[in-house]
Symmetry: C2
DNA sequence: TAGATTGTTAATCGATTAACAATC
DNA sequence: TAGATTGTTAATCGATTAACAATC
């Protein structure tokens, strides 16, 4: 299980996503065809040099006295992050969170297509969510093979997560998006992104307490 | 709007949460009263010196030749992050994601209590979720004042998020947990944690592409 | 005591920021 | 041209890692 991506570091990926959203908005709103690194930096509360360095890292060059072409930056980010090379995922655990994720319409623009929903609860099997029918987990391996799915989105309760992850890995899954509140132990060649809500909670709790203590 | 907490840096907070979960598990499972920095480091794929530095930063001292007392570390982390100083939040937007969050039972152990659910849709008003009745957004300010709520959890569609955030701020909210897929522009004294799902997507997409290109 | 593990100082590493010539 | 903005080199800063004496 590798947590740190090689190549582009995590902090850079996060900043790239931020640029991406900002520039997509600018472009859609027709607010101009170019931006300067200073404009982007101001919005992100960071340094203009950092913005130029980040963009240079993904091969975008700006124009002196003008700035960067929004459309060019957007497509360079899509290319660097691979959004135009679609991949498929199975989603396991169609509870509240699982069905919220299954019904999210925005994934396709990032290259993700959900090709199967699974649950071990017979009551949930057969329900329809996001245009897909919920299947029993026993059929996971088949669907993964049929659709060449490379990712599993795990939305089961914490106590079932490891079992489900093992099942996904044995079906050939190479990346796991883990929404269960537990760590997973997995082979080194399986990439895991752990989306634990408590990290956000910790940051907020810490901040509110700092503020209450007069250091905020 | 300040994104970087002073004092403990974000990466440190994240590692502390990881230690916390690991050590809570160890304690609950009765797997021993102490751990060494090396054991923790191995599990987190990091360096033992870093673990000791992190724990020193929150005032925990270990015992040479023994390690750290799990219970002591856990309570030091709770103290550093403020989990034992409860605070209240209102949740706005009771769609799929909002109701999944409203029904999550684990918040109280991190000090968070949800004291009100709100929605602008009259159809949703009156529904019950997580033991609370959904109220119209017009009553937000009243509930915030009554319960001394300091946080707003925003789960409305992106296009409504700024409006709802402004409303929360004018009601006296000091921190926002933003699940809407959009940036918010807010006063400097309001702390924002943006929980954008696309960051996780970007990391996964990038990784899968690197793997496909043979660099993974 | 010998061995294991800590706490801390020093060294390294990488990321961010500053400075500034090059360019349009 | 003058002014604005880039790209890049050098300087700074902070975080991580290595080394090792102190401790149980």
């Amino acid at each position: 299980m590798r947590n740190a991506p090689d190549g582009l570091r995590h902090a850079l990926l996060e900043r790239l996503m931020h640029y991406y959203h900002f520039l997509s908005d600018v472009t859609e709103a027709g607010l101009g065809e170019t931006v300067t690194s200073g404009q982007v930096a101001e919005l992100m509360h960071t340094d203009d040099t950092l913005v130029r360095k980040d963009l240079a890292a993904i091969g975008v060059r700006g124009l002196p006295n003008v700035g960067f072409k929004c459309a060019e930056v957007v497509s360079a980010i899509r290319d660097a992050l691979g959004f135009d090379h679609p991949y498929r995922a199975v989603l396991i655990g169609v509870g509240r969170l699982g069905s919220a994720i299954a019904s999210y319409r925005g994934f396709s623009s990032y290259g993700l297509e959900i090709c199967g929903l699974f649950d071990k609860d017979p009551v949930k099997v057969g329900l329809v969510g996001g245009g897909l029918v919920v299947l029993p987990v026993q059929r996971l391996a088949l669907v993964v093979a049929q659709h060449h799915a490379s990712m599993a989105i795990i939305c089961v309760p914490a106590e079932d997560a490891q079992e489900v992850a093992d099942l996904a890995v044995s079906a050939g899954i190479k990346a796991i998006w883990n929404f269960a509140a537990t760590d997973l132990v997995l082979p080194d060649d399986v990439f895991v992104r752990h989306e634990h809500i408590s990290v956000g909670l910790a940051v907020l709790s810490y901040h509110l307490n700092q503020a209450a203590r007069g250091n905020g």
